[in-house]
């Protein structure tokens, strides 16, 4: 539930859909249509049990909204719980590590991507508009950065360090 709304799961767009390569717009976190979109994003994330995070462009909305819940992932250390964030902004990033990532919008491939393993993110909660600060590490930090990239029109394919860093997805644990 976001702002008292249950939300409706939506279809996840797959690359090369142009929305996935577009920069998104900031939102008013208290606006009813934004709260409704946040609820839909969360409902979609709950349905897609293979991924711990989603961003609004993946469900066809060019808005700065992300949702994540890394509690069940085996590589999680920190977990903020199940959250939807409006206008998230990376405030600090450190301890960079390479890691292999998949993406719900790119079903067949994974890629090696360098990410900070400790981050601080400022955002607002849809509904109340309350400001929040998230301190995340390990898988949760990687997941949040992956979603932030979606808001800037970037896919993991735009982050690979070299020609041999792209892989076919062979195992479900790649995600």
């Amino acid at each position: 539930m976001v702002g008292g709304r249950k939300g409706t799961p939506r279809e996840i767009l797959g690359a090369p859909h142009p929305l996935l390569s577009a920069t998104t717009e900031p939102v008013d976190p208290t606006a009813p249509e934004v709260v409704a979109a946040a609820a839909d994003l969360l409902a979609t994330l709950r349905r897609e049990t293979s991924t711990p995070g989603l961003a609004a462009p993946q469900i066809g909305l060019s808005w700065r909204l992300i949702a994540f819940d890394t509690r069940l992932h085996p590589r999680s250390r920190s977990w903020a719980g199940e959250l939807v964030l409006a206008n998230p902004r990376l405030a600090s990033a450190s301890h960079w590590d390479p890691g292999r990532e998949g993406c719900a919008s790119i079903p067949g491939l994974t890629a090696d991507v360098l990410r900070a393993s400790r981050i601080t993110v400022h955002a607002h909660l849809p509904g109340t508009g309350e400001p929040v600060t998230i301190e995340a590490d390990a898988l949760e930090a990687r997941c949040i950065q992956h979603q932030l990239d979606h808001l800037d029109g970037l896919l993991i394919l735009d982050r690979v360090p070299g020609a041999l860093s792209l892989h076919r997805r062979l195992h479900s644990c790649d995600s």
Partner: protein, 170 residues
């Protein structure tokens, strides 16, 4: 001592690499460089090997009955860019699949003397992905090259990223 380029193609199964490399070892061939990948369920392998046998003799003695193997003599290593004379970049292209993507992109790079030193392409569903390591001569106007790449990308309906390699210095 001769240097040979060996290519191996065949249906993928466990033991293919062991069979090829074992046979090379039996021929006294030393593997200097190699790469292998799977292409649509087929194993594709390329090796540079050195040894006493010339390419023709090596091909004759290689035991790989269910594989397509070629061997060619290599005269010398060629360097298109002087050591330390080039700048490394990573090019990524992704968009809807269509014929001509590689040729269009590589032609733009070639106009400026850009050398593709590694490349992988993958097709998954409708999505076509190309990742390439590119070495550019130092004198290239990179901003102008990026504008030309962007224009070609727009014609191909594809997104193109071109950025300097940032090596990890540990």
């Amino acid at each position: 001592m001769g240097l040979s380029a060996v290519t191996v193609l065949g249906v993928d199964r466990p033991g293919v690499i062991a069979a090829v490399t074992g046979s090379l070892a039996d021929c006294g061939a030393n593997i200097q460089d190699s790469t292998m990948t799977l292409l649509g369920g087929h194993v594709a392998m390329m090796l540079l090997v050195s040894g006493d046998l010339d390419s023709a003799e090596l091909l004759k003695r290689l035991c790989a009955p269910d594989l397509v193997v070629t061997a060619s003599a290599i005269e010398a290593q060629r360097h298109f860019c002087e050591e330390g004379g080039g700048l490394g970049y990573v090019l990524t292209v992704h968009g809807p699949d269509r014929p001509g993507i590689i040729s269009a992109i590589s032609a733009v790079l070639a106009e400026d003397g850009g050398n593709i030193t590694g490349m992988s392409t993958r097709l998954t569903g409708r999505l076509y992905v190309l990742i390439a390591d590119v070495e550019l001569p130092k004198e290239v106007d990179v901003a102008a090259l990026m504008r030309r790449l962007a224009a070609v990308g727009a014609c191909l309906d594809s997104e193109i990223t071109f950025r300097p390699v940032e090596p990890d210095l540990l």
